[in-house]
Every structure is written in C-alpha cells, then in structure tokens.
C-alpha cells in the first residue's frame, strides 16, 4: 500500500497495483503522469482521476456509457498509437471528463466527449485520446442526463 495526499480527503492509502501511468501526459498537467482512479459509493456514478503526485490535480470523470450507450472511441487506432496489444481491448476502460456549466441560471452537468481518457487496466497505462477532427464542437460540453 502507498500513502498519497488528496485535497478532498487528506492522506489516503492506495494499492500500488492501481497506479496508472500516462506516458503521453495529461493535457494541462504536464510533468505529472501518475494517477489513480478513486471511486466511492457516495459519489457514484462519478470518480476522481487523482494525481498521486499533486493533491490539487483531480479530475471528475465518469463512464460515458452511463448516459450515452452508443458512444464510440476508435480503440484500434488508439491501441496502435499506444503500442498496446490488440488482446488488451477487453481491458480498456473509457472515462470522460465532467464539468458543470451554467446557462441562464440553470446548471447542467457536461462531459467532454471529444477527449476520452482510456485506461488499459492490464498494462496500467492511460491516455487522453483527443479527437483531431471534431465535427461538432458542442461535444466538448455534451449534457449528461
């Protein structure tokens, strides 16, 4: 077990076997490549994508399939890009980054569907896979309902 600092819960213990490395980094947080996914019963269906190096880096993420079951990621291209094995496909987990947007005093949960974070749970690596040719820029703020 390893102790890490989080801003929300202070010091917590995590299993080293759950530490995920991002070889290409996380856009906006360059230099910090090690993360852990924290899920808790009371924050479902959300999780934190928590840096194990900097307590203040913790993105709110969730599975896109909870609200959009036809969501697609080009996993074959991603596997090639990351030099992962084709057999790893079943070990890939997809998360999207969540925010709250306020429009005319109404708050909506939104998800960035154009830059999913894909975690290879076998290799313990992850990448944020940025869509290079977004057809619809509103998909950065897809309403989660």
């Amino acid at each position: 077990m390893k102790k890490i600092n989080t801003k929300k819960f202070g010091e917590i213990e995590i299993d080293e076997k759950n530490i995920i490395t991002m070889p290409k980094g996380l856009p906006g947080f360059s230099g910090y490549n090690q993360y852990v996914i924290l899920d808790r019963e009371d924050i479902k269906p959300f999780c934190w994508f928590q840096s194990i190096e900097i307590p203040e880096i913790a993105l709110i993420v969730m599975s896109p399939y909870i609200f959009k079951n036809d969501y697609k990621v080009d996993l074959d291209l991603l596997i090639k890009d990351m030099n992962w094995d084709k057999e790893d496909k079943e070990d890939l987990e997809v998360y999207v980054v969540i925010n709250i947007k306020e429009k005319e005093k109404e708050k909506t949960i939104t998800a960035n569907l154009l830059s999913p974070i894909v975690v290879n749970t076998k290799k313990l690596e992850a990448v944020q896979f940025i869509n290079a040719n977004p057809e619809d820029r509103d998909l950065y703020y897809y309403p989660v309902k």
């Binding site: 801003k7 929300k8 290409k24 996380l26 856009p27 906006g28 947080f29 009371d42 924050i43 479902k44 269906p45 959300f46 934190w48 203040e56 880096i57 913790a58 993105l59 709110i60 993420v61 890009d81 980054v97 969540i98 925010n99 709250i100 708050k107 909506t108 949960i109 960035n112 154009l114 830059s115 944020q128 940025i130 869509n131 290079a132 977004p134 820029r137 950065y140 703020y141 989660v144 309902k145």
Partner: protein, 78 residues
C-alpha cells in the same frame, strides 16, 4: 517568433524529422501537409486548448463533487 514566407508546394523543415509543405492556398484557407514521427502529437491548437480547459475546470471543481451528485440525482429522479 520566426516568420517565413513560403509559396505553394514549398517546404519548411523543423529539426531532423519534421517537414511542413504548403499544399494549397485559397483566400482564407491554407492547407498544410505535415511529415513527422508518429510519436509527435499534432493537433489544431484550439482542439488541444479545449481539452486542456475542460481538464483544468474539472480539476478545479473536484471539491464540489456533492454538487455533481446532487444535480445527477435531480435529473435521474424525473
């Protein structure tokens, strides 16, 4: 900032492995071909910036997770 003027089909070399080619010039659009090693991330800058912005905003909100849970609950009770 280094500024270079190029004509149609002329190239710019960056470092050992990157070459840009001006493929087409129209009034407000320039088409650029990029030859670069596969491990180099090439994106339209605003696409990268949008991702960074959403990441930073989300990380700034993580302390307010209760608000997300509350909004989620409200929407899913309807």
């Amino acid at each position: 900032m280094l500024i270079l003027t190029r004509k149609l089909n002329e190239k710019i070399k960056i470092g050992e492995n990157i070459v840009l080619t001006v493929l087409d010039i129209k009034k407000n659009n320039i088409t650029i071909g990029i030859d670069a090693p596969k491990d180099i991330l090439i994106l339209r800058k605003e696409v990268y910036d949008n991702t960074v912005r959403e990441n930073l905003l989300s990380s700034r909100k993580y302390g307010n997770i209760e608000e997300f849970v509350q909004l989620w609950g409200k929407n899913n009770k309807k």
